[in-house]
Symmetry: D2
């Protein structure tokens, strides 16, 4: 059974400028997923798209969300990449979570949201501090609307306090970071396979 993953990158910067540390992290997660038998088909740079503010699945003319939403829901695994700003996920990461709030009113006859049976991985980078809290906020918001979180689902890198080092400039990926990424990807792949074979049954009668 073939399973796929899609990635979103919630950096504040559009494509075309300097490379993004978040992209490097997503790239590593993609390679790890490949080793686990899952294709990461695309990385969507959210800042390139006009995702309107709101909590519905379609905020009308010019809203880029419906197309992105469809791509996300076509995959088995979502790789949610975000930079850290002020110790927190980016405003673009938050916007995407808000748009997924609509899932709560898009349940099927068994009460299951569109995210049921799907697995999320988070990939987080910052110059310093904030990865655990960023995981916490994403796990809670995404789990609320139906995503499942396999064991050890957070891959992250941050530098020493108040430093300016960028993940994209590290000459090599620290071994412990690579191991964490490999494990996260293997766990997500395993769970996505199980849930593809048998989704949650939904609301008990």
């Amino acid at each position: 059974m073939s399973r796929t993953a899609i990635a979103i990158n919630a950096t504040l910067k559009r494509s075309g400028g300097a490379p993004s540390s978040t992209d490097r992290m997503i790239g590593l997660i993609g390679e790890a997923l490949k080793k686990a038998g899952v294709d990461l088909t695309e990385t969507i740079r959210l800042a390139d798209h006009d995702i309107k503010p709101g909590v519905s699945s379609d905020e009308g003319e010019g809203d880029a969300w419906p197309a992105i939403r469809a791509k996300i829901l076509a995959a088995n695994i979502l790789v949610f990449g975000t930079p850290i700003w002020m110790g927190q996920p980016s405003s673009i990461a938050k916007r995407v979570c808000e748009r997924m709030d609509a899932f709560l009113s898009e349940t099927d006859e068994a009460g299951r949201t569109p995210a049921y049976g799907k697995v999320v991985l988070v990939g987080i980078v910052g110059n310093e501090d904030g990865a655990h809290h960023t995981s916490a906020e994403l796990f809670q918001a995404l789990n609320d609307v139906g995503w499942t979180v396999a064991a050890a689902a957070s891959s992250y890198w941050v530098g020493e306090a108040m430093n300016k080092k960028d993940f994209k400039d590290l000459p090599e990926v620290p071994k412990v970071i690579q191991q964490t990424i490999d494990m996260a990807a293997a766990n997500a792949a395993h769970l996505a396979t199980a849930l593809s074979a048998a989704n949650f049954p939904g609301q008990p009668k």
Copy 2:
């Protein structure tokens, strides 16, 4: 295949006094698990036990954690019940998370912590406000050390802002709360079954 659940109640109060709102929530989760085919075998009132501060699995003489730890790890599902204080999980909930930090150095040959293959449900009650954040902190801390979080794993109740109403005194459980609990339990039972049949394979070679 028989799966079991165990509950911990992180209320600040020892047994023997007034009933605990957290216990009421745990009781409802237990009934919902029963409907999903899982036995909740015991609820451990943490405040009755002397769980020493620390981040190892055994903090020495008089430490109640090793016995509680063994019971938790003997079950497939952990129901983690906590009251909210100041918008946050209780200090006793935090203590238990800290003690589980030791899991990170108790991995098997495949790099799996003792929580791999196990599923967590959170049950949260407060007079007012704080349930989402409490979920966020618990999900992040517990997922870090290996617990899996099935879709919509948080069951909670809080009253209106700055009110004093207790969940234990509600004449009946609101329908939407009951549905949330039933769904959370069904999801956890489903995932625990899948992971019992096939645990995460662990660190890729």
Copy 3:
């Protein structure tokens, strides 16, 4: 000495539609500030403006932030109003915090950011749950960049868990909420006066 306040409303909705619960909260804070001798001069509906993503004070053509930034920094007190979505501040609230990150590189000769000597009040509303965490995130992000937080600086309202009631539809403001607002405003006014008279001296020689 005359002190002024300005408010920002981080609702996801533009002006012109239904009234905003966040506006009602800001209105109450404005009245309370008036009683404390401070004029709330304007409420800026952030969703009406094109605040570009980024962490500088001017993200170039079409960026609405420089003008809003100037207005905010012309006042002694910032009333930061936000709705709660998914237990967290809105993505628009987050965007504004990110833009203030630039303050850290806009220090004067004594190392003081533009927010030194200024006081922040938060006004938070939601259908249910999330006010404490929203305060926590705003306090941390804003304090990091130089805002001072007077005692009891959070005014909020949320309804019972999983309810749909809106603050704007309450027939009257609960007495305890009104008292909290009055106290928060009095505290902020007092501190803004003290800091207007004598700002922080800045980096020790």
Copy 4:
């Protein structure tokens, strides 16, 4: 006018063993306060004392909190030191916050809690990640019960992601960390002086 500070250290370890990184941070804050004209009179190692769980100011026989509470409230500035565990403040830090929840019912005739007019500084250390979130939780909990937070009130150090380096073992304190500490202390001293001269007036009539 003489102002004083007191420190609490929420490390999980009792005195007498290895030195505590949190103590090193508190020591640096103490020196910085000294430069700002404030005496740090004592550091209370909380783990040495039996602070009972609860949310009242006196939990009965054997409870160490009443004496610690009195010392804290005798000072103008509280230096709240905590290690980070799992990206969050320690369970002992949380316990102390819970005990301060009682302040809300210990208001004077003007509705002011015992923390009104007092200023808090946080000092946070960890091997890696979690400082911003720890600040956020402490600021929110402490501000709720009446503490004032001067500009830039968080002093912290954490190492690179998933590293084991301890702050106490750094051969020297990084310059940017020292500057942050000096500024935080100067800000707190300034505000404590202002609030000593004129406390918040309290609930408007």
